[in-house]
Symmetry: C3
Subunit: 330 residues, 3 copies
């Protein structure tokens, strides 16, 4: 069994591994081999050390990131922009609101045309869209590398990478862990991307959700092939005591046709002090945020509450990705 | 009597005074001692000299300011962002419009959660909110320093500081002056913050407003305790000839239940060429802007018309604050 | 006949020519002499070489551009911001959406007041407005140079400059060419500005439009005086075989009172593979973008399809303008 914790002890990954990412698009969690994950997360760990020392990093100096958010996602957008600035790079931004549209897409232009042009204004393109497949379409139009920052119900690979990075940082390893994914596993783009990455490791994944919101069967089949051991449950109480990492997602009322069923179900998926007490000693609690009420705020002071650290891990992970795909990590 | 004008003659304030601001939040005009005001404004004057020489200032190089404007305030936002760029720093921005909301607050997230995350993306947080107390709440969530850029009917301390700086620059001193605050003194956050700062000086403050829009009694009582001499009037004509600084604010129709009363009152508070002629020789005219019609445009060419210079003074004052609280002014 | 192609072979234009632009506003395509055009485009070509080498350019270091877009125009805004970043400058941005207004103009402030203030925050102002004359008004208020990025039905001089630059780059010269402007020539701000620039060269301009959308007579009269040979047609087929550069603009349905007339007309102005085949060998196809359906996408792969290159040429041209008017190109 490989020891992953060394990404935090070692120096920069080897040059030839870094060079493999040059000009690559980051589109799907499915695109990575385990070795590639080690390189990305190793580079992230390398950058994080600099961040902690507040040393200036000139790696992206003179380079421009186009930050194209065709739907609001403040956290992800600011995280990418912070990452770019931390590397001394510049940013040009389109930040659409839910209700207004300020970009040319208003005027009936295709995404292809928009990206062909922006590609000439920047060195790397980060795109968020409500439309599934938008990042792939952008990658087809652009000469420069494209990073998918979420495409509707599709993928959110950089979130999955920072989730993985967080588990490694909190636990020192992924192999051997029992990782429980909780909540809406049917529509949750985040957990779909994460489970694909976990399938490259030797860990147990427990899926806990209401029957209406189970992980799609084809994803379960897929990752099982990869060797991951999957258990499916409806009741968190049955598994919490054996859980090393509890990954919580929100259950949205809109997902239920039967509102009575929603009311019956929702409180069973709320994490509070009792959950922590029944949980395994040192259990890490994660959440992609924003949280509404699915984790009570008194859990925040629990040492294993990792969700804010998790969000902040987005910066070094995105620094690594930006520098890798532009060939500036070399 | 202390001579304040020396902030424009002296060099950088002493290191130990600058160091006191490190990691401090800037939340309220009430938080400053007179000595602290001297340090902030002295630092602003120091930076202004560099601005005028167009010398590059690397003080915030590699640092990120989060510019979180949860309600529109273009002037204040651009002023802070300009200040950060003038110090070679970087900026990540949330700029909500009045009608749309692009940030995650849409999704029901608390301000606490939002700030906990952004705190990990930046080195200093500037927050504007329509909600009173929002900046204090943000300061409670953030490890990094927080600067209040206006919280609803609450405080706007950086505006008060730039107002004070402007008086010092226009008049060379504050002690001994007669400063007249005119217009809506009941709801005007700006004048509430300013009068608190003036209470630390040995000056006369004249309050001129319609009866409906008088300065709240508790603020008057408070600042009187500090030693400031307050006079209250309804008619500007009675006091304009003795006024050194005339600080004009807008009277909004919405404040009046009785529209006839508004019509009766409003023209009495409009500044024009006649006001200037009846005013004290060299009287400075200030306004927090935006102005609609409360100062006629032919006043703009009057040498004592200080309102545009006042707005622009926001840049060095905010440069000083950003560098002080991040410990980068040292 | 002057040979323009040398702008791509020569080095930086002579210092005394560059110095002439210092503190100048860029408001109208009519303001330039042919020599001035050579200087601007020569400077653009100089910068483009650096862009291609990815060499860092410090020309605008420590300088701030205010990017004031009071109506959406993502392409133009990002192009200016990219240009500023490519020169190591900083940007402060107002990006209004069509439906929301986040700036102080909401509060009833005049453009004059807004610009007087922003002028103190920045070293150069780029303004886009739906209001004709807005850039001129801004130039009247600002001490710093103002660049018109489009004012309603008025002017769009930087678009005309990048169009000219594109023709020079694609064709090596402008003199002697036959340039056909197609589509809505009545309301198209872009073609109005371009034809003014072309009037300084020794070329043939063919105007092809439906009768309802002809180039305004006074513009035709004006440029004819300058020596340009103008031909007006309704049918592209009559002239395409002699066209060196085909400049396509969109015909908007809203322009037609009679919808039947629109239906009759529109397909005649759509460019497809057949148009290219009947066109002159090597004919360049340009379009200011966004395109909706007026150029079919299978034309994109045609070598003479210059519209994406044209958009990207906006970066070096705007770099040149920014550096010239701030005196930083010297």
């Amino acid at each position: 069994m490989q020891n992953n914790s060394n990404i935090f002890e070692n120096d920069k990954p080897a040059l030839e591994k870094l060079a493999n990412f040059r000009d690559k698009d980051i589109l799907s969690a499915s695109q990575f081999s385990r070795e590639e994950l080690d390189t990305i997360l190793g580079m992230a760990a390398f950058y994080e050390k600099y961040l902690n020392d507040r040393n200036p990093l000139p790696d992206m100096q003179g380079r421009i990131m186009a930050s194209l958010f065709f739907e609001p996602s403040t956290r992800t957008r600011l995280s990418f922009e912070s990452a770019m600035h931390r590397l001394s790079g510049s940013v040009i931004t389109v930040a659409e609101s839910a209700k207004s549209q300020t970009s040319s897409t208003v005027k009936g232009e295709t995404l292809y045309d928009a990206i062909r042009v922006v590609d000439g204004y920047a060195d790397v393109i980060v795109i968020r869209s409500p439309v599934i497949g938008a990042a792939n379409e952008a990658a087809g139009a652009a000469v420069n590398p494209v990073i998918n920052a979420g495409d509707g119900a599709g993928e959110h690979p950089t979130q999955a990478l920072l989730d993985l990075y967080t588990i490694l940082k909190e636990k020192g390893t992924i192999d051997g862990l029992t990782i429980t994914l909780l909540g809406d596993l049917k529509y949750g783009r985040t957990v779909h991307s994460l489970i694909k990455l976990l399938s490259l490791y030797d860990c147990n994944v427990v899926l806990v959700s209401p029957d209406e919101l189970k992980m799609p069967g084809e994803i379960v089949t897929d990752v099982t092939k990869g060797g991951v051991k999957i258990t499916e449950k409806e009741d968190l109480n049955e598994v919490v005591s054996g859980t090393d990492v509890l990954y919580v997602t929100r259950i949205q009322q809109e997902r239920f046709d039967d509102k009575a069923e929603y009311e019956r179900v929702k409180s069973k998926y709320i994490i509070n002090g009792d959950t922590i007490e029944s949980g395994k000693d040192g259990m890490s609690v994660m959440h992609p945020l924003p949280r509404v009420n699915e984790i009570e705020t008194d859990v925040d002071k629990y040492q294993g509450a990792a969700y804010f650290r998790q969000a902040i891990n987005g910066v070094p992970v995105r620094m690594a990705l930006l520098a890798l795909v532009t060939g500036r990590a070399l």
